[in-house]
C-alpha cells in the first residue's frame, strides 16, 4: 500500500507501516497536515495488518511544528468562554487531532519516531505519542509554545510528565526550552541517538528485533528491548 497526500504519506513495506511527514523543508504540522494525518490514521493505519509503525519527516527535519497564527485564529474563533473565564466549548477538530495521536500511544504494536533535524511543537507532540523516540545526531527537540504566548495543546504536557516527571515537565513547558538530542537523551525524553545516515535503518532493525522476540510486545519493557538490541549490535 502506498498513499500519498499533499502533506503526509503512508507506505507499507516488509510488514511495517511508514508515516512520512511530507511538507519539506519545515514539515509544518499545519491544519491541512493534521487533517490528512487524521485520514491516514483512520482510513489506513487502523485497517492495516502491519506489525509496527515508523514515523519520520521528509528531508532534513521531522517537523517544525504548527502554523501558530492559523491555529490561534481557529481556536479563538471557535472557543466559547463564559463570564467566569471558563471555556465551555472548544473546536471539535481538537478531538479528532488528539485521537489521531492517542491512537499511536495506545497501540499494542511498536511505534517509533525516527527524529531527524528539528522536531518541535506539535511535531514533538507526535513524537512523544510514539512509544520510542530515536534521534539522528544534531536533532533538536522540544515544546517551545510558551514562548509564543500559550503552551502545548495536543497532550504534550501529559506526555512530558509521563516521560520525565511533573517537576521537569513543568520546567520545560514554562520555559519553552528546546533541547539538543544529547540533553533530551540524558533526561529521558528520547531513547537513543544515532548517526543521521543510520537513523532509519536503526529504527527498522530495532523494530524488527522487538517483533522477532518470542514474548508479546509490551511498552513496559521498551528500555529492556533497546538495551538488549544495543548490546547485540555493539
Amino acid at each position: 500500500m502506498n498513499i500519498k497526500m499533499s502533506k503526509v504519506s503512508y507506505e507499507e513495506k516488509n510488514g511495517l507501516g511508514y508515516i512520512l511527514i511530507d511538507d519539506p523543508p519545515a514539515n509544518k504540522t499545519s491544519i491541512e497536515f493534521l487533517d490528512e494525518f487524521g485520514v491516514i490514521v483512520r482510513e489506513y493505519v487502523t485497517q492495516s495488518n502491519v506489525k509496527g509503525i515508523i514515523i519520520t519527516g521528509n528531508g532534513r527535519h521531522f517537523s517544525s511544528g504548527a502554523d501558530v497564527d492559523k491555529l490561534k485564529e481557529i481556536y479563538s474563533n471557535q472557543t466559547i468562554i463564559d463570564n467566569n473565564g471558563n471555556v465551555v466549548s472548544y473546536p471539535s477538530r481538537y478531538l479528532r487531532d488528539r485521537s489521531s495521536l492517542h491512537y499511536f500511544t495506545n497501540l499494542n504494536k511498536p511505534v517509533i519516531s525516527a527524529i531527524n533535524g528539528m522536531c518541535i511543537g506539535s511535531g514533538f507532540e507526535i513524537a512523544t505519542s510514539s512509544h520510542i523516540r530515536i534521534c539522528g545526531k544534531g536533532s533538536i527537540v522540544g515544546l517551545p509554545e510558551s514562548t509564543f504566548g500559550f503552551f502545548p495543546g495536543l497532550s504534550g504536557t501529559l506526555r512530558y510528565t509521563e516521560c520525565i516527571g511533573l517537576g521537569k515537565a513543568l520546567e520545560l513547558v514554562l520555559s519553552g526550552e528546546t533541547l539538543f538530542a544529547q540533553q533530551a537523551f540524558e533526561i529521558g525524553l528520547v531513547h537513543g541517538i544515532v548517526e543521521k545516515k543510520d537513523l532509519l535503518k536503526y529504527c527498522e532493525d530495532l523494530i524488527n528485533y522487538i517483533l522477532e522476540r518470542p514474548s508479546i510486545y509490551s511498552k513496559k519493557y521498551i528500555q529492556n528491548y533497546i538495551d538488549e538490541f544495543n548490546q547485540l549490535n555493539k
Binding site: H102, T157, T161, L170, E171, L174, Q223
Partner: protein
C-alpha cells in the same frame, strides 16, 4: 502571631514570595496572608527554602493533611528548596510542591514503608519522576538515602543550587522559567499540571487532558484579543 509578624516571615519580591521554613507551624501561620496575596493576584510563585525542619512540630495530623492538600492544589507555582536531611514531614511537603530544587548537601531519606500520606507511593513517584529506568524501580527507593547528584538523575529535583546565595539562585532559575510571561499564562499552565497532580497520570487520558485543551483555547483566544 500578628498580621505584621506573619507578613515579615514572607519575603515578597517581584511577584515571588519566599519563606525560610524551620517548622511546619510557620506555614500554618502565613497560610492566610499567602492566600490573600494570591487572591489579589500579587504573586506568581511561592518558594519554601528549608535546610531541615523541627520534627517535633506541634502540628497535629489533621493540620498537616490540610497543609499538604493546600500545596497539592495551590493556584500558583510552588517550589521547595531543600538542603541537608530531607525526611518525614519535609519530604512529604516537598513531594506535594510543583518543583523541587536541592542544595549540594541534600540527602533524601525515604522511609522503610510507603509514606503514610499517599495511598500509592509508586504512583506518586511516577507522577514526580516519570518513567522508571532500567536501573531502579520506585518500590526500591523505600528505605534508601538519595544524595543531590542522584536526586537529579532520578528527576526528584530539577537543579542543584548554592545555598549561600539561595534567593539569588532561585530568582535566576525563575527568570529562566518565567521570563516575561504574564501572570495569566503562568497560572493557566500551572492549572494543567495541577490536574495531573489531582487525578494522577494513570487516570483516563481523555479525562485528564481536558484541562490542557481548555487552558490552551483560553490562551489562544486571549492572545488574539490582544492582537486586535
Amino acid at each position: 502571631m500578628t498580621v505584621k509578624e506573619e507578613q515579615k516571615l514572607l519575603k515578597i519580591q517581584n511577584r515571588r514570595a519566599f519563606l525560610y521554613l524551620t517548622d511546619l507551624v510557620e506555614l500554618v501561620n502565613i497560610k492566610d496572608v499567602l492566600e490573600i496575596h494570591v487572591e489579589r493576584n500579587e504573586i506568581d510563585c511561592f518558594i519554601i527554602i528549608s535546610s531541615g525542619i523541627n520534627e517535633s512540630s506541634h502540628l497535629n495530623q489533621e493540620k498537616k493533611i490540610e497543609l499538604y492538600k493546600l500545596f497539592q492544589n495551590f493556584p500558583i507555582l510552588t517550589i521547595v528548596v531543600i538542603d541537608n536531611i530531607c525526611n518525614g514531614d519535609l519530604l512529604l511537603l516537598a513531594m506535594m510542591c510543583d518543583i523541587r530544587l536541592g542544595g549540594e548537601n541534600l540527602s533524601i531519606h525515604f522511609p522503610n514503608e510507603s509514606l503514610g500520606m499517599f495511598s500509592d507511593f509508586e504512583d506518586k513517584c511516577k507522577l514526580l519522576m516519570g518513567r522508571e529506568t532500567s536501573s531502579y524501580t520506585y518500590a526500591s527507593l523505600l528505605g534508601t538515602i538519595i544524595h543531590s547528584e542522584e536526586a537529579i538523575k532520578l528527576r526528584l529535583i530539577n537543579q542543584i543550587i548554592h545555598m549561600d546565595n539561595d534567593i539569588q539562585e532561585v530568582n535566576k532559575y525563575l527568570d529562566r522559567l518565567l521570563g516575561s510571561k504574564n501572570s495569566c499564562q503562568i497560572k493557566r499552565i500551572i492549572k494543567v499540571f495541577h490536574s495531573y497532580k489531582r487525578y494522577g497520570i494513570n487516570s483516563s487520558t481523555d479525562f485528564i487532558v481536558e484541562e490542557e485543551i481548555k487552558q490552551f483555547c483560553y490562551l489562544a483566544s486571549k492572545d488574539l484579543l490582544h492582537d486586535k
